[in-house]
């Protein structure tokens, strides 16, 4: 959209442009600080505050993603079915038997005794 501006309009533009060029040092300094504050705000609000590692920058989202992945792998790992209370008791019993100082013959003797006692009771002797 090119049209010839009238001299009045052109003079207004020139005067305003000159005014922009004459911004003083105090205002320039404030503007510089404002710009830096805005850029810091962007880094903070985007959630991608860069994390410095030697050689390059890693955004926070990459680190967060890695953490989530690690958690997912840990949660989804294959698990062994938990032993039942009965099996646990049985295992304990087995261990107790194997570690006992008494030999397995003792238990064999007991079986013979109970067998004899049962038969004796049934026969009515005694």
């Amino acid at each position: 959209m090119t049209h010839d501006r009238d001299p009045f309009e052109e003079r207004c533009r020139e005067a305003l442009a000159a005014r922009v060029e004459s911004v003083d040092g105090h205002a320039r300094s404030r503007l510089n600080r404002a710009r830096q504050a805005a850029l810091a705000e962007r880094a903070a609000s985007s959630g991608t505050r860069p994390f410095r590692v030697p050689g390059f920058w890693l955004p926070g989202s990459v680190l967060a993603g890695a953490a989530v992945l690690a958690l997912a792998v840990w949660v989804a790992r294959p698990v062994v079915n938990p032993p039942t209370a009965l099996a646990e008791a049985s295992a304990l019993e087995d261990a107790e038997m194997l570690s006992s100082s008494e030999g397995p013959d003792l238990y064999q003797d007991d079986a013979e005794f109970y067998d004899w006692a049962g038969g004796d009771a049934a026969g009515g002797t005694g």
């Binding site: 959209m1 009238d6 001299p7 009045f8 309009e9 003079r11 207004c12 533009r13 005067a15 305003l16 442009a17 000159a18 005014r19 922009v20 060029e21 911004v23 205002a27 320039r28 404030r30 503007l31 600080r33 404002a34 710009r35 504050a37 805005a38 850029l39 705000e41 962007r42 880094a43 609000s45 985007s46 959630g47 991608t48 860069p50 390059f56 920058w57 890693l58 955004p59 989202s61 990459v62």
Partner: protein, 207 residues
Amino acid sequence: MACSATLPRDDCHGRSDAGRPASGEGFLDATRELERFLKDVERRAFRIAEIALRNPDDALDVVQEAMIQLARSYGDRPGEQWKPLFYRILQNRIHDWRRRRQTRSRVIAWWTGGIAQEDDAPDPIDAAVSTDAGPQERLEQGEAMGALEQALAALPPRQQQVFLLRALEGMDVAETAAAMGCSQGSVKTHYFRALQALRARLGEHWT
């Protein structure tokens, strides 16, 4: 003819989902691009705010708020969208600032029983309009810029906004309409009326 002074809907919710990916290098490139943009517009934005508010400290505060909101809410947008968004935020901030100042003035006036106090500075914009020295006189004194600024300050806000965005920021009609959230027809009308009012106040000899 009334223009909407509201920001896009997602302004209230932070970043839009139309943002660019925030990978490491991409993030730094976008940040550098944003810094270049802000550096490019900051002085003009400051002058626009200063003319609108007639107070350099207020203008600096408003520009800083606009910069921060742009970076926080729209920093991930493509760079070509930043200018209209930034000026829309800036104009809304200016509007809020003026409204707060008017409210404060009313409260002070009510508190003091409506009696004008010497310490209570009148609205700077009103003061600019009711200045003793006329535009013609100021021109003769070599204060052309001061006369122009006072004439600009006396414009209705929407005319002032359109004129400054076009004449100072160099936006075309479409960009100005996008920044103001109104039609291009409204922009043309406001601009024409602003030029007429300025010409009437400053006089033809300005040329």
